[in-house]
Symmetry: C2
Subunit: 118 residues, 2 copies
């Protein structure tokens, strides 16, 4: 499955700390994705990407900022997303190439996920 | 990916309660698999299946029985394994057809999983 890619702009801030691609662990990645809000975040980043990185406000999620910060950090720590600090704001994209290399097909399952009804 | 199948014997006990195939939820299945011991169990059932159902003693896991019971129950509740009660013993197999139908490729990732080193 090929997801929309956006060229990497020049002069990006360094990524925040994250596991290298060969350090990714299936159990950790699955744990990070075992939550509807996180699946929503990753799916939206995969399917509706408009820029290289998106800040958490882009997702339109009605949750406290501290809760969102926690979820984005968990996704980054597991290696699912890459985050960069732009001034006061963190922005994210999915590590699609890394995840596809290590766990082929996993992101297609996330893309096909449907939020729970009600 | 095709895993070894074993014909269903006659006169099996009814399966213990489990979600129907159309009730399986990706977030729940990923959560149930986000643990090395559970990945070990599912991978061994997928790759080394010898009989229709296997009791937890077959896995050779050095953990208290109560802990194993908990992990097998979590896998069943998520829809990953089917369990049947044979007298005093519960035996399990992976719901490979159901999982492949709903989440194609997921079991191949489990089969390719390698336990953490050390």
């Amino acid at each position: 499955m090929v997801f929309p890619a956006v060229p990497e702009p020049d002069g990006l801030p360094e990524p925040l700390p994250e596991p290298a691609v060969d350090e990714l662990r299936l159990e950790t990645v699955l744990g990070a994705l075992s939550d509807p809000l996180r699946l929503f975040i990753v799916r939206k980043l995969l399917l509706e990407r408009e820029r290289f990185d998106h800040p958490c406000g882009w997702f339109g999620i009605d949750r406290p900022k501290s809760s969102l910060t926690h979820h984005f950090k968990a996704l980054r720590a597991a290696g699912v997303i890459r985050q960069r600090q732009y001034g006061l704001e963190r922005r994210s994209h999915v590590r699609a190439d890394d995840l596809e290399a290590r766990f082929p097909g996993l992101l297609a399952l996330v893309a096909a996920w449907e939020p729970p009804r009600g």
